[in-house]
């Protein structure tokens, strides 16, 4: 493995020059990619801090919401709850922009959730219970949390994918490409030196032959 060379390259000076340029480029690319990887990982850690609390908070809020919903269903009956739910107006308004972290496009969600009062939700009072109001409120709050959580999780997924591919490229350059090029350069240099020595010996022999004849 360590002695791998690039196949199909002639040991000429031209190729040697080309290879040396390639090596320079590879080393430069490697260090750039390494920097990119480190920066991405820094970003990743920063976002990880945000996600930690977010999921628990959302799940807790949702659990409360489900409890209230079940209570409302017990008091009012499934069908009445569904009927009431149908008359609630759409209240979630999201705008999605994007932002770039080191070339990774991640979504930034700007969500506006109209917080409603009991009056503006749209269902009647006479046949609904207070638990239903509670449930509706909790669900509204949950939606906001869920959207925020979604943004963070998506960012993490995208960053993770980018980190993985960058890592792979860094490793490929570091452990395969650069050693291969180095080995090839070395072998071409050795071959050229060998040829030089051969020519030198030939010249010496010719010279001594000429000297012996004259």
């Amino acid at each position: 493995m360590a002695q791998d060379t690039i196949e199909g390259i002639n040991p000429t000076r031209m190729e040697l020059l080309n290879l040396k340029n390639r090596e320079k480029l590879a080393v430069k690319g490697h260090s750039l990619l390494k920097e990119k990887r480190d920066a991405l990982i820094m970003e990743f850690f920063e976002i990880l801090d945000r996600v930690k609390g977010s999921r628990e908070k959302t799940e807790k809020k949702l659990k409360e919401a489900y409890t209230n919903l079940t209570d409302a269903q017990v008091i009012m009956g499934d069908l009445s709850v569904q009927k009431a739910a149908l008359s609630v107006k759409e209240s979630v308004n999201v705008k999605i922009e994007s932002r770039s972290i080191m070339g990774v496009i991640v979504p930034v969600v700007d969500s506006q959730i109209d917080s409603k009062t009991v009056l503006t939700r749209g269902y009647g009072f006479s046949d609904t219970s207070a638990k239903l109001d509670e449930a509706a409120k909790k669900f509204e709050e949950s939606v906001a949390l869920i959207i925020e959580l979604g943004e963070i999780e998506k960012t993490i997924y995208l960053l993770a994918a980018e980190i993985e591919s960058t890592k792979r490229r860094v490793n490929a350059l570091e452990h395969i490409m650069i050693p291969k090029i180095k080995n090839t350069v070395k072998s071409i240099e050795m071959r050229l030196q060998e040829m030089e020595r051969e020519t030198f010996v030939q010249l010496k022999m010719i010279k001594s032959a000429i000297d012996a004849n004259s």
């Binding site: 609630v88 209240s91 994007s98 979504p107 109209d114 949950s142 939606v143 999780e153 993490i156 994918a161």
Partner: protein, 106 residues
């Protein structure tokens, strides 16, 4: 860009989110329904899709195929009313482990 939110889940989840103001609710009782709902939502360019963990687990392959590493839509998995399913491997911490190489406290 303006967009909207939709829910795929069992009947109670959908009712609950309707109460919370998310009007696009798709009730999915089996895998086919969930898959076709998801496909429809993606085709309609709904950018935030809330889905229950149980359904998401069942149609995981379909989700991965549809979403992959695209920026949108974002699919958010939430527990349904029976609480979060105790999964052996949380996909998030699994991913972090793979990327960073060490387990993070989570």
């Amino acid at each position: 860009m303006k967009s909207s939110v939709a829910v795929i889940g069992d009947i109670d989840t959908v009712t609950g989110f309707k109460l919370g103001g998310v009007k696009k609710g798709y009730i999915a009782n089996n895998n086919e329904e969930a898959e076709s709902a998801l496909t429809e939502l993606i085709n309609n360019e709904i950018s935030i899709i809330i889905i229950t963990e149980k359904i998401a687990d069942k149609i995981r392959e379909h989700i991965n195929k549809k979403v992959g590493s695209n920026v949108l839509p974002m699919i958010i998995e939430i527990p349904d009313k029976s609480g979060s399913s105790q999964r052996e491997a949380d996909p998030m911490s699994e991913l972090i482990k793979r990327v960073i190489g060490v387990e993070m406290i989570k």
